[in-house]
C-alpha cells in the first residue's frame, strides 16, 4: 500500500512540475501584461505584480487599433472558412461516398498541398494578386488562406463522413429523397458537430497566419490582421513589453477559447488524411 502511495505522489509531483514548466511562458505573458513597465525592469523579478493593472486591456485598445486588427482577422477568417467549407463539404462528401475516376489522385494531391510551404506559394500569389489589384485588400488573404484551409477541411470532412453509415442515405432515398436531398437533409444535419469542429479548425489556421498578411497587407494599415499588428508593435516598442503582452493576450484569446471547445476533435484535425 505504501509503495502505491509513493508512486502516486511521484506521479502527481511529475504532472504538476511538467505542467508548471510548460505553461509557465503563458503565465509569464499574463504577469507581464499586468505589470507596470517600470516593475519589469526590477531584479529579481516579481512573479505576480503587486498591483495588477487590470485596466491595461482597455488602455491598449484605446491606444492601438487592436479592435480593428481583430476585426480584420475575423473577417479574413470568416471569409476564408466560408469559401473553404462550401467546396470542402461537397468534395469531402464526394470522396467519401462516390467512386469518382481520379478521385484518389485528387485526394493525394490535396494531401500533398497540405504540406506546401507558404513561402513557396506566396511568390506566385503575389504576382497574380497584383495583376488582379488585390494586394492590400482582405480578399488577397481570404484566397491565400483558402489554400491553407481547403486541404485540411476536405480531408477532415471526408474522414468524418466516412464514419456516418451509408444506411442513413439509403433510408432517406427509399423515402423518396434524391441523392442530393439525402445529403443536404440527412447527412449534413447529422454531421453538424463535425462540420463545426472542421470550420473552427479552419478558423485557427487563418487566424494564425503571418506570412500572407505580412506580404499582402503591410502597406495597407487599415487592413492589418492581428498577428501583423502585433509584430509591428514588437518592432516599434523595444522596451514596452507589457503593452505588447496585453495585446498578445487579446489576440490569443479566441484561439484559446476554440481550443477548449475543440480539444476532443483535435486529433481528427491534426491527422486529417494521414490517419483514421
Amino acid at each position: 500500500m505504501t509503495r502505491k502511495t509513493t508512486r502516486h505522489a511521484l506521479l502527481y509531483a511529475g504532472v504538476v512540475l511538467t505542467c508548471a514548466i510548460l505553461v509557465f511562458p503563458i503565465y509569464w505573458l499574463v504577469v507581464t501584461a499586468l505589470s507596470e513597465p517600470s516593475q519589469l525592469r526590477q531584479l529579481p523579478p516579481s512573479f505576480w505584480p503587486s498591483e495588477p493593472r487590470w485596466g491595461v486591456f482597455g488602455q491598449i485598445m484605446a491606444e492601438k487599433p487592436i479592435l480593428l486588427w481583430l476585426g480584420n482577422s475575423a473577417l479574413a477568417a470568416i471569409g476564408a472558412v466560408s469559401l473553404s467549407m462550401i467546396v470542402s463539404v461537397l468534395a469531402g462528401y464526394s470522396l467519401s461516398r462516390f467512386r469518382v475516376r481520379g478521385g484518389q489522385s485528387l485526394g493525394l494531391f490535396i494531401l500533398t498541398a497540405k504540406m506546401l510551404p507558404a513561402t513557396l506559394l506566396v511568390i506566385p500569389l503575389f504576382g497574380i494578386f497584383r495583376n488582379l489589384e488585390l494586394i492590400g485588400s482582405l480578399w488577397s488573404i481570404i484566397l491565400a488562406h483558402a489554400t491553407l484551409i481547403i486541404p485540411f477541411t476536405t480531408w477532415m470532412l471526408k474522414g468524418y463522413f466516412d464514419t456516418i453509415p451509408r444506411e442513413l442515405e439509403q433510408a432517406a432515398m427509399v423515402d423518396g429523397c434524391s441523392p442530393l436531398g439525402a445529403m443536404v437533409r440527412v447527412i449534413l444535419p447529422v454531421s453538424a458537430p463535425g462540420l463545426a469542429a472542421t470550420a473552427l479548425y479552419g478558423f485557427v489556421l487563418s487566424w494564425s497566419d503571418y506570412a500572407y498578411a505580412r506580404t499582402f497587407l503591410t502597406n495597407a494599415q487599415g487592413n492589418w490582421t492581428a498577428n501583423l499588428g502585433i509584430t509591428t508593435m514588437k518592432g516599434e516598442y523595444i522596451s514596452n513589453w507589457s503593452d505588447i503582452s496585453a495585446a498578445s493576450i487579446l489576440v490569443a484569446l479566441p484561439i484559446l477559447a476554440i481550443y477548449l471547445f475543440l480539444e476532443r476533435y483535435l486529433v481528427g484535425g491534426l491527422t486529417a488524411g494521414a490517419e483514421k
Binding site: F109, P117, A118, L121, I150, P179, Y210, N227, E263
Partner: protein
C-alpha cells in the same frame, strides 16, 4: 423510368455523375489558387525576373537561377541550418511530446485538466509564442538571463539575439515549445488505442514498467510515430513566421532556413526568379516527404 431506379445510389452511372459534380467546385478552386500558382512558380524559376509581373512578356528560358543557387554559399548554409533545425527540433518535440503523453495517460484525479494544460501551447499563435519568448530571452531584463545567472550557469548576461549559437538555441526553444503539443496529442490518441489486455498479460508474465514500455507501448505506437515524425519534420522544414519574427534569419544568417532565404530573396531583394528556384527545391523535398508518409500509412488513405 421509375423514380427509385433513377436515383439509385448503387447504379454506377448515377454515382459518377453526382460525384463529379460535387467535386467540381473544389477542383476548380484548387486549380486556380494552388495548381496555377505552382506552375507560375516553376515557370518563374526558369526566368531572370526581378519583379513578378505576370502581365509582362515572359523572359527567355534560363537555368541561371539554379546554377547560381547551387554555387551560392548562402544556399548551402540555409540547407545546413534547415537540416539542423529539423533534426534538433523534431528530436526534442518527440522527447517532450511522448514524455508528456505517457505522463498524463496515467489515471489520476485531475487528468482531464492536466491533458488540457500539457497541450496548451498548441493554442498559442506562432507570432504570440515569439513575443513571449523574445521577452523571456530579452538581453537586459529577460527572465532567462536572470535565471541563468542565478543558477550560476553564466557570469554575465547573454545577448541572445546577437550571438549566432544563442539565437539558434532560442529559435529551437520556441519551435519545440510550439511543436511538442502536436506530438503529445497524437501520442495520447495512439496510447488510447492500445488494448488494456496487452498490459494485463504482460503484468501476469511479470514484465516491469520499463519492459512494458519497450515491448508493448513503443511497438504499438510505431505507425503513429512514423506519421507524426514526418508531419513534425515538415512543419519545422517549412516554418516561416517563428524564425522571421524572432530573428529575421540572423545574426550572420545563423537562423536563415530555406523558407527564410526564399522570402528574403523574393520580398527583400525582389529576385523573384531566384527565390522561386529555392521554392521549387523546397517543393521537391516536401513532395518526397509527404509521399514517404503516405507510403507509411497505406490503408488509411
Amino acid at each position: 423510368m421509375p423514380r427509385s431506379a433513377f436515383f439509385d445510389l448503387a447504379r454506377p452511372s448515377r454515382r459518377h455523375w453526382l460525384g463529379y459534380l460535387l467535386l467540381a467546385p473544389a477542383v476548380l478552386l484548387i486549380a486556380l489558387i494552388i495548381v496555377y500558382p505552382l506552375f507560375v512558380s516553376v515557370d518563374l524559376s526558369f526566368q531572370n525576373v526581378n519583379i513578378a509581373r505576370l502581365d509582362q512578356p515572359r523572359r527567355p528560358f534560363t537555368t541561371a537561377n539554379y546554377e547560381r543557387l547551387f554555387a551560392s554559399e548562402d544556399f548551402w548554409n540555409a540547407c545546413w541550418v534547415t537540416f539542423k533545425l529539423v533534426t534538433i527540433v523534431s528530436f526534442f518535440c518527440f522527447l517532450l511530446g511522448l514524455g508528456t503523453a505517457l505522463l498524463v495517460n496515467n489515471r489520476f484525479k485531475g487528468q482531464a485538466l492536466a491533458r488540457l494544460l500539457v497541450a496548451l501551447p498548441w493554442a498559442i499563435p506562432e507570432v504570440i509564442a515569439v513575443v513571449i519568448f523574445a521577452w523571456l530571452f530579452d538581453s537586459s531584463f529577460g527572465l532567462m538571463n536572470w535565471l541563468f545567472i542565478r543558477l550560476g550557469l553564466v557570469d554575465q548576461t547573454i545577448n541572445w539575439f546577437s550571438s549566432p549559437d544563442a539565437a539558434f538555441a532560442v529559435v529551437c526553444t520556441v519551435m519545440v515549445w510550439k511543436g511538442y503539443p502536436f506530438v503529445s496529442i497524437m501520442m495520447l490518441a495512439g496510447l488510447q488505442s492500445i488494448p488494456e489486455d496487452f498490459y494485463n498479460a504482460a503484468k501476469v508474465d511479470g514484465a516491469r514498467a520499463w519492459q512494458r514500455l519497450i515491448h508493448i507501448t513503443i511497438p504499438s505506437l510505431m505507425p503513429v510515430i512514423g506519421v507524426t515524425l514526418v508531419l513534425v519534420m515538415l512543419w519545422v522544414f517549412r516554418d516561416f513566421s517563428i524564425i522571421y519574427v524572432l530573428t529575421g534569419g540572423g545574426p550572420l544568417k545563423a537562423t536563415q532556413s530555406l523558407s527564410i532565404m526564399t522570402y528574403e530573396q523574393a520580398f527583400g531583394f525582389f529576385k523573384m526568379g531566384y527565390a522561386s528556384a529555392i521554392g521549387v527545391i523546397t517543393l521537391i523535398v516536401c513532395v518526397i516527404a509527404s509521399r514517404l508518409m503516405i507510403a507509411r500509412a497505406p490503408d488509411n488513405i
